[in-house]
Symmetry: C2
Subunit: 262 residues, 2 copies
Amino acid sequence: MASELARVANDGLAEICRKYPHVFPSFVAALPLNDVEGGIKEMDRAIGSLGARGVQLFTNVAGKPLSASEFRPIFRRMAEYDLPVFIHPMRGPNFPDYAAEKASEDEVWFSFGWPYETTACMARLIYSGLFDELPQAKIISHHMGGMIPYFPAKIKLGFRQIFYGTVERNPVAEERRLKKPPLDYFKMLYADTALGGEDAPTRCGHAFFGTSHCLFATDAPFDPERGRALIADTLKGVQALGLAEKEMNLIFAGNAQRLLKL
Amino acid sequence: MASELARVANDGLAEICRKYPHVFPSFVAALPLNDVEGGIKEMDRAIGSLGARGVQLFTNVAGKPLSASEFRPIFRRMAEYDLPVFIHPMRGPNFPDYAAEKASEDEVWFSFGWPYETTACMARLIYSGLFDELPQAKIISHHMGGMIPYFPAKIKLGFRQIFYGTVERNPVAEERRLKKPPLDYFKMLYADTALGGEDAPTRCGHAFFGTSHCLFATDAPFDPERGRALIADTLKGVQALGLAEKEMNLIFAGNAQRLLKL
């Protein structure tokens, strides 16, 4: 069922790309993850026959973390293709924020739960050794890396590190046998600029990931004006970085062209 | 039991302040929240007799949100005193990040769960109408407001607002009968600068809260050098804001002196 839905979705996206190649030069494929082998077959079909240049996964698979070893073949195969994995958050109001409650209220699950999901997913992928195994893996974290750029200090200083480590030695990273300091791996991630165009956050995200790891994106059409506000605002937010034209063009197009081999 | 522990803690802090008044001009009191009436008695004793100039609460009370109506008398009484409520995150590894798991792994509960807790707590307090009822309430959110300064766009554009609202109309805020746009209330919060001294995040937090709502703090002694690194780094981070000396002094001392009536 999931396999069939993914096929229908990918066929549809491929058709749109064939019809409007000047607007949609390519697409990223959906994969059924309840069947990893089937997911890889669909990946091969979408990339090999339909012209997809990446895949989009969600931060969890029916509640399981993407870092689970059963999903690692997906990342391995994408690293072989040398094409990016886009990771989007997935969480609903049924994920409570308080132990005494059964649901998340006031849309906290969306406003802040989504960036939290993205962040937890990236942390778990990193601590699972993803980048030691696949240093060429290209992971694109939506919404400018979730919480990562605002909390490099929390990445640099773990909880047990405070009490049992040193400035250089993080006990959890050692247990996980990571080869580099955790922060180095977080800097290997890519991020899109979908932060609603806010100046200071966009600058904070850019400071963390750097020009070469930022890709323009907007979250359109998801605003009450069918995306017009998000596109205009995000353009302004990226322009407000005040970068040289050449650098700006990398964020708007060059980095995506490079990663997606367009 | 909680009442007795709070009394012992507050007596101890008061004693330290009496012994070293040039270093510790005052303290903020711990309150037992399993007994709100007893909590208010301890608040009155700590502020009235011991010289406390605020209270410190945690983001949840045994799993219940601070926004629950049973805790509102605490906020009301603190507003009468016109003294600040400091709110610190509280979450352990027993709070899982994935529906299929029983615990949080790789210290995600700490590194990112704490700022998420702070953010969820602030959102719930705001949507519960705290600032409409008590516009003079002074709430200090630790760690530069958690995720708030990186995600003003997510505060401005709620989930149902995308589909059923307009740029101005947020259905959840309307259901909660908030008098102002949600973002206006988030701007009423105060924040401390405990972000480990990272330049870009500190600038992002300052851009959101403004000089008058930022108070210097460091998380010392919680680093492997007993706080020396955190103090030095955070000083540098705040100085890197490049503010005029008068503004800088507000963050380092003036704002705290004003809020704590020192």
